[in-house]
C-alpha cells in the first residue's frame, strides 16, 4: 500500500512538473512571437464563440435557481429585496467563473485532448516536427492564449445572463420589488467582485488548455490511450479548477480587503 502510494505521489509530482515545463515553454514561445495567429483566431472562435450556448444556458439556470432558493430563505426574515444582491455577488465571485470553467473544461478540454491525442497516435505530431515546427508553437500556444482570452468573456456573459434571469424570476415570478432589488444589487456588488471573477476566469482558461494539451501530447498510443487522455483532461482540469478556486478565493479576498 505504501509503495503504491509513493508511486502515485511520484507520478503525480512528475506530471505536475511536466505541465509546469509545458507552461514555461508556452510562455517562451509566446514572448518570442512564434505563435500561429491564424490558428489562434480559429481557437478563439472554437473555444469562445462555440461554447456560448452551453455557458449561457448554465449561467441562466444557475442564476434562476440561486435566485429562487435565496428568495425562499430570505423571505422568512423579510429580506426579499436582498436576493438579487446575493445572486450578483455569488455569480461574480464564485459561480460565474467556476461553472463557466467547468462547462468549458467538459466541452473544450475533451476536444483539445482528443484532437492532439489523435494527432500523436497517427504520427501527425511527428510530421509537424519533421516540418521544423515546434508542437508547442503550433498546437499549445494558440489554444492557451485563446482560452485565456475566451474564458473571461464567456464568464461575463454567463454572469450577466445569470443576474438577468434571476431578476426575471424574482420580480415576475416571485413578486420581489424591482427597484429595491436593483438598488441592493448595485450597493452590495462592487467592481472588485467583477475583477475577482475575471482574474479567476483568466487563470482557469490557462489551466484547461494546458492540462488538455498536456494530456493530448502525452497520451498512450492506440484508441484506448486517446479515450483515457480525453477523460483525464476533463477530470484533472475540473479538479484543478475547484482546488485552485479555494486558494484564489482566500488570496484574492485578502487582497480585496486591503484595497
Amino acid at each position: 500500500m505504501n509503495v503504491f502510494a509513493n508511486k502515485w505521489v511520484a507520478e503525480w509530482l512528475a506530471g505536475l512538473g511536466r505541465v509546469a515545463l509545458l507552461a514555461w515553454e508556452s510562455f517562451l514561445s509566446l514572448i518570442t512571437f512564434k505563435i500561429s495567429w491564424s490558428d489562434f483566431l480559429y481557437q478563439l472562435y472554437f473555444i469562445g464563440v462555440k461554447s456560448q450556448a452551453v455557458v449561457l444556458i448554465t449561467g441562466a439556470f444557475t442564476g434562476m435557481v440561486l435566485g429562487a432558493q435565496t428568495y425562499y430563505q430570505f423571505h422568512k426574515v423579510k429580506m426579499d429585496t436582498a436576493t438579487l444582491a446575493v445572486v450578483g455577488v455569488s455569480l461574480c465571485d464564485e459561480l460565474g467563473p467556476v461553472l463557466t470553467a467547468l462547462m468549458v473544461a467538459g466541452r473544450v478540454g475533451a476536444a483539445i485532448a482528443a484532437e492532439i491525442g489523435t494527432m500523436r497516435v497517427t504520427e501527425q505530431i511527428d510530421a509537424l516536427r519533421t516540418l521544423a515546427t515546434h508542437p508547442v508553437d503550433y498546437l499549445v500556444v494558440p489554444r492557451v492564449v485563446a482560452a485565456h482570452i475566451a474564458l473571461p468573456l464567456l464568464t461575463i456573459e454567463s454572469i450577466c445572463l445569470g443576474i438577468g434571469a434571476s431578476y426575471l424570476v424574482g420580480v415576475y415570478l416571485l413578486g420581489v420589488d424591482a427597484t429595491y432589488s436593483w438598488v441592493n444589487l448595485l450597493r452590495y456588488t462592487h467592481d472588485i467582485d467583477v475583477v475577482i471573477g475575471l482574474i479567476k476566469a483568466f487563470i482557469y482558461g490557462g489551466i484547461i488548455a494546458l492540462i488538455s494539451c498536456y494530456k493530448g501530447l502525452t497520451c498512450r498510443l492506440g484508441a484506448e490511450g486517446v479515450g483515457r487522455a480525453t477523460t483525464e483532461a476533463v477530470v484533472y482540469s475540473s479538479i484543478t479548477i475547484l482546488i485552485t478556486n479555494f486558494f484564489l478565493t482566500l488570496v484574492l479576498g485578502k487582497v480585496a480587503s486591503l484595497l
Partner: protein, 248 residues
Amino acid sequence: MIEARNLRKGFGTQPVLDGVSFRIENGESVAIIGRSGCGKSVLLKQLIGLMQPDAGEVLIDGENIVPMNERQLLRVRRKFGMVFQGSALFDSMTVAENVAFGLRRHEHLTEAEVARRVAETLEMVDLPGTETKNPAELSGGMRKRVGLARAIVYEPQIVLYDEPTTGLDPIVSDSIDQLMLRVRDRFKVTTVVVTHDMRTARRVGQRVLMMHDKKIYASGAPDEFFASPDPVVRQFVDGVADPKETPF
C-alpha cells in the same frame, strides 16, 4: 552527410539497437532493410531527432544532433523531408494546405507563389488537380504521394522514407518506387529508405544495409547484396521462415 556512431537504444529492458554505425554520403541513396520489429523505424527516427538514442552520436553534415534540444533540432530538420508509413497527413487540412505547410511556415512567399509551388509539386507526384481534396477522400497510394509532396516541396537535402510501400498493391508500390527515383534524380537528394520490400530496396538503394540482431549485419551494393551467400541474408531475401523459431 549522415553518420551514425555506435547508436544504442532500448525500451525498458528490451534493447533494440546495440551499437549501430554507418555513414551515408551526400546524394547517396540507401535502403535499410530488416525484419519487422528489428528497429529500422527507430533508427530512422533517430536520424532526424524524433527519438533520442540512449548512447551514440548522429552527425548531420558533421554536427552531432543528439545533445540538441527540440528548438535547436528545428534548424537541422529544415534539411530533411520525411515520408511516414501511415502518411501522417494533417486530417484537418486539404491536400494543398498539407503540401503548403512547410512553405507557409518557413518561407516568406506570396500566396500565389505558394499555390504555384504546390501545384508544381502535386504535378510531379502525379496528383494534379487534387488541391481541394481532404486526406480522408484519398486512397493509400495517393496519401503516400501527398506525404511525399509535403516532404519535398521546400526542396530538402535529405529525404527519409519509412516503409513507403507497405500496405500498397504491387502496381502502386512500383509507382511509388519510380517516384522516389524521380525525386532522387531531380533534386539530387540524399535518400534513406527503410523497407522490408525487397523490390523497393533493390530499385531505390544504391547501397543496402541490413539490420539483424540489433546491429547493421550486412551492407553492399544491391547486386552484390542480393547475391550474398550469407545464410541470414539469404533467409531474409528469400523470405524463408525457420520452423524452429516463432517469426513474430
